[in-house]
Symmetry: C2
Subunit: 548 residues, 2 copies
């Protein structure tokens, strides 16, 4: 290592560790009277937020929570959850944001694996806990969260209700300094196989993610996320990668925040209108549900900017949104990456383009954000050309990536092979550094030394008028390594054969969209395409079935 | 210290230290073809910038520069200097930004004290070096910077000219990783007494300052500094606290940059017009010079936003600027603070106010920026009320403050008394957290247990129609501790006595601007008020003279 001159860091009395408590300094200072709204229920100011965070810290400490303990939360998107985002890490404990959509068995698994000490549970999720509480090993204290006037009766032995506990707690807490590498948050990712894996983030990582996000998104010409006139409403769950980290950024900037509680499309649209929301983040499915409401037709959404992530933003959805005035753009990241890695960057001249040309830019995965080192690499880890054609696995380095999986160091080493975080996504990169995700690496078809995107092929097959759906997987081939194998479902009453699909695909060879060798020899017409529990194509199962 | 769960930071293979090289990732990625302009001389792209930084790193390494060495620069505001901002720290060396306005003796002192190994010198400053080069002890290599077609002859034995060295250097440098607490930059502050003191900043500090600045300034509704359509031109020297850190932020964001070279008012205005500059930072004196040019009258400056620092922005200057369309606002910081501590925060509703009411907000010192912990304290270190009246010394904690003075640890301990950086400035804070600097602590008058601002009193005395200038200092008083003592100069042909001044001041007692006890008993009419070499009132000398 280079012999630089080093500041006397460790011994230095003036060190100022990067702690989440520092993110809370500026928002209330910029806008003490700024509002934080809870759906159509209640609202309070930033000054109130600070006081409630102090009360919550005292309530938890009174309940026996110590630094290093883990405090789990099962709640909808509420200001309570925002208070937990701050108070729990600020006392040195670890916030476990429980994925309430997991099966009860998986919830038990994650609580036991994370070694939760205290759990805050909303009434709506109490029945889940009532059913499994004997299997949960480490939890000593339950706290009830309620939106009713009085807490609902439960067989779970709780310490009390959140608001009551806050009311009797002291309103001053002296938040300590500690090592910035202390774990602040944890949560679990789910794959198609195996148990959920626990990722975790430190105070330093969350502070850096917040600072970089603030600078990044604010600098976009179009995007008023983080200007002081902005109004923010999350439309991804707060358990999902800390609502992509935006609540921290919005709070640091003192921006008006609207928490919708449950995701009911009509309510969401109503809140958009009432509060003139200017920034949200969302997965495509929820956006589709909101766009299908009757009330959205009468909303002025010309100032609503939406970061789409989770799955690909399609041109269809982006165009339909644009017709309503909604400005969508793509963000890319994953649970392991805190999550922000890249986002669509609309240049001033892009904003002058006709809407349909803007859409072509908005649906791409965008350009890596500041401080992120990102590459697309071949199986040997060598970068592939940035020509918009060559495909490689996306690998990243950044100051905010999970350092491993909790108590699964072997899987952590796999994740970080060669010192880069392997996303498992295959992408191409254009000469202007725009990334386009093409496939999951485990689904990409390696044929004749080239990578063929199963997603691209599925999209093209689906454009045949008789086709209802398509799934393409790679199957072993002696000569080419792998060859694509397609499963196709037809629309009711429609007819098509293997040659119809192949000749349909030939037009895309002629137009240069795919190579000749991309056309599958094997095309099976089936009744149903196997799906996973969350509705994704189950390619692992298809491959297993084809093997037999 | 709290027993939190700590990430295995030091041993961790996936650590990603906060190094200046990471600030260079995103700008060229967002805008590879974006321009960096050198006055009316030349321009190149961000892609060129990266290549030139690699070449400079090789040129310096070829010249024997090793990590931990110190490389000094004496240049105007040029893209060369920007290259040095990156390349020198990125190889692990320390960039010494030499204050070219110091006397030759002080330049010798700072070069010897900083232990410079290599110095890059512009032709315009070569005569200074020629005159003192025998007194400079540690410098082994001189490199010439020229704006002429061929380097000017000099008696200094240089390695060669910058452009020639870059041309023959390799265009690929493998910048190493190292400890983020490595010193990246150093420079010297000057006071009225004693030798210049060396402050220093680490890679981590500069990265954090950049990230915080980007988010902060970008979130202002008015301020387009860091949006991708912005055009940035510094109008404070790059040796002065790294041009307030803005070149790092602008580069990280890929924003168009215009470097003006020397500060010639007509040239500056010409560049503003040609490049439609949208953001600059400036001291009041230079702003006045620019506003006095003939050509500014025909400029469209309605998109020019200027951060004013160094000395107080007066209402007069702010109003005069507003009439030309210029949007000024105040930044606060000092050499010791990297520098950003606070800035005017114009809220959306403030921007709706008539211009003169906006001015009242713009001239205040603003609100502390994110991640900065800032307080005003009494002599015992206890916070004073935030009521807009009570005065206290401004103390700060932030992740980017100098940790000491180089080789003057005793002065560093004074600076950091009680674990807070003492700015030496006295200020009041309003209930909305807006700071207003009132005085330097050594000039404030402590009378009857209260702090009286010498600046306030000077301003009020100066409003008497016969008064040309005023200086007020505190003199020892047995009963009150100190009492104000005023020196007054009169305009040519004007007459006034002690009682005239006192009765003039009484109107401000009636209007509530000052207390009765603020009126000085001692008022001397003098020919001249002692000034320092940079034109500031020499209060130390006045106090010494009054003592005798």
């Amino acid at each position: 290592m280079a012999q630089t001159r080093i500041l006397p860091a460790a011994d230095n009395a003036y060190q100022y560790p990067l702690l989440i408590k520092r993110l809370l300094l500026s928002g209330p200072r910029y806008n003490p009277d700024q509002e934080i709204v809870y759906a159509n229920r209640s609202k309070y100011t930033y000054t109130d937020l600070v006081e409630r965070i102090h009360r919550l810290a005292n309530a938890l400490t009174d309940a026996g929570v110590k630094p290093g303990d883990t405090v789990a939360v099962m709640d909808w998107d509420t200001p309570r959850y925002l208070e937990c985002f701050f108070a729990i890490p600020m006392i040195g404990a670890i916030l476990h944001t429980v994925n309430v959509r997991l099966s009860p068995e998986q919830i038990v698994y994650t609580m036991n694996h994370a070694e939760d000490d205290v759990v805050l549970v909303h009434d709506d999720f109490m029945p889940i806990i009532e059913g499994v509480k004997d299997e949960i090993k480490t939890v000593k204290t339950w706290i009830q969260l309620t939106d009713s006037d009085s807490a609902t009766a439960t067989s779970v032995d709780t310490l009390g209700e959140y608001e009551a506990l806050l009311a009797k707690a002291d309103n001053q807490f002296d938040f300590p300094d500690f090592d910035e590498n202390s774990v602040a948050t944890t949560f679990y990712t789910t794959g198609t196989t195996g148990n959920p894996k626990g990722v975790y983030f430190s105070h330093r990582q969350l502070v850096l993610h917040t600072l970089a996000m603030t600078g990044t998104i604010a600098h976009f010409d179009e995007m008023p996320l983080l200007r002081s006139s902005s109004v923010y409403m999350p439309v991804t769950p707060m358990f999902h990668v800390h609502a992509w980290g935006v609540p921290y950024a919005a709070t640091m900037m003192g921006i008006k925040q609207v928490y919708p509680g449950r995701y009911e499309p009509e309510l969401l649209v109503d809140l958009l209108k009432t509060h003139k929301v200017s920034f949200s983040h969302c997965v495509p499915t929820i956006m589709q549900m909101m766009m299908a409401t009757e009330s959205i037709k009468t909303a002025d959404l010309s100032n609503w900017h939406v970061l789409i992530g989770g799955s690909a933003l399609t041109k269809g959805l982006c165009d339909a949104g644009a017709k309503l005035g909604i400005k969508m753009f793509t963000g890319y990241g994953m649970s392991e990456t805190c999550p922000l890695l890249s986002a669509t960057h609309m240049k001033p001249e892009d904003l002058e383009l006709p809407l349909e040309q803007q859409t072509a830019i908005r649906v791409k995965t965008g350009i890596a954000v500041p401080m992120v080192d990102l590459e697309i690499v071949d199986p040997d880890g060598k970068p592939v050309p940035h020509d918009g054609e060559a495909k490689g696995e996306v690998v990243a380095r950044a100051p905010w990536l999970t350092q491993s999986y909790f108590k699964q160091a072997d899987k952590g080493e796999e994740l970080w092979e060669g010192g880069w975080l392997h996303t498992g996504d295959v992408a191409s990169m254009e000469p202007d550094n725009t990334l386009t995700i093409k496939d999951r690496i485990k689904d990409v078809i390696k044929t004749g030394g080239e990578w063929l995107s199963s997603l691209d092929l599925e999209n093209l097959i689906s454009q045949h008028p008789a086709v209802a759906g398509a799934a393409v997987v790679g199957v072993p081939d002696e000569k080419w390594g792998e060859r694509p194998h397609a499963l196709v479902t037809l629309k009711p009453g429609e007819q098509a054969g293997v040659e119809d699909i192949q000749s349909h695909l030939k037009q895309f060879v002629e137009s240069g969209e795919i190579n000749k060798w991309a056309i599958p020899e094997q095309i099976d017409f089936v009744e149903d395409i196997p799906k996973t529990s969350v509705g994704k194509i189950n390619k692992k199962l298809i491959r297993d079935q084809l093997k037999d």
